[in-house]
Symmetry: C2
Subunit: 170 residues, 2 copies
DNA sequence: CAGAAAGGCTAGGATATCCGAGTATCGGTC
DNA sequence: GACCGATACTCGGATATCCTAGCCTTTCTG
């Protein structure tokens, strides 16, 4: 679950922030509210997901990489391609694959034809864990169990616009 | 800006993941899509925000804490209250206030009446920086410049449901 | 009123992410 | 055929977040 040491607040802290923001004459209150909401949604979701993945020995980041390899044609991809797909920094990929490799879920192999490139290849154990993890995530609805199908769709729709505008894809 | 070492992908990586997910017979594809979207939205937004805040010497986390103190009645709050409001772990508050104090934007003072409690108090310099930072954030629309007013509202609406269900407020 | 329980904060350890810099390799150019 | 820019990956440093554990203080309880 998300971090919650205390009882629920008697009011919505985001709505409260909005009131103060406007009262101070600061601009962009609506964007502030949305930004704060996204940050909190991310925090709640990630906490639940990582808890659900705990028994599999995975984190969300590692699961994403493992799933990507699982779906790939040959069960292997260059480190760089992984970063492109997951939209993360090359050094983050190095770190993620390091951990997966330590657990025997992935194996680094040389690229036949380009000695600069390192391939990350999913192992049979990796495939087993990926399947188990996907079931665990579906079980907790990826930490978004509070949302309806319509709510999920609306989120995706709005964010897809943002992602395209940010240059993720075209 | 968000991390983007390469040119945009010729396809939407999230939609691609959805196809693979469904093709493998894995459950919860819609939730997976929404979760992936939220994670990416958070990443894009935070990268833009932190870049906009760079000249002020702030990060988004530090700005949130600073703004909270700015809006508070006495310009000071107990460390614990800050964590409650921002929904973060007590140790994260310690870290955040440490940095703000190093920059002279906040000052730790003892609580008159409860020697367990430490108050974080915003300084005049802190107020100046907070105002400047709020303008910088409004300028870049909190990193959400791709979204319309309706998009922002839809995001907030969907996420408020999640936050309530997660026990943030009541 | 003394001891136990609860509350408030911080130190240390772990993970993930980014950036800058460094090493190795590939390719195109003159 | 040698050189230099572009590519591919990794190392070290920085920030933010969480958790566990610990110290000190306050409050409750018998």
């Amino acid at each position: 679950m998300a971090y919650h040491p205390n009882v629920p607040l008697p009011f919505d802290p985001v709505a409260e922030a909005r009131r103060n923001w406007v009262a101070s004459g600061w601009a962009g209150a609506d964007a502030m509210v949305a930004a704060t909401s996204i940050a909190r949604a991310h925090q709640i979701m990630l906490a639940r997901i990582d808890k659900a993945l705990g028994p599999c020995g995975l984190t969300f980041s590692r699961f994403e990489a493992l799933a990507l390899l699982f779906f790939s044609r040959r069960g292997a991809l260059p480190m760089g391609k992984i970063g492109d797909r997951l939209q993360v920094h090359p050094t983050s990929v190095t770190n993620t694959i390091d951990r997966l490799e330590e657990d025997g879920l992935v194996r680094r192999t040389p690229h036949p034809g380009d000695r600069r490139t390192v391939l990350a290849e999913i192992t049979p154990a990796g495939r087993r864990v990926a399947r188990r993890a996907s079931a665990a995530l579906a079980e907790v609805e990826f930490g978004l169990s509070g949302l309806s199908a319509e709510g999920l769709a609306r989120l995706d729709e709005a964010i897809r616009i943002l992602r395209r505008e940010a240059g993720d894809f075209e």
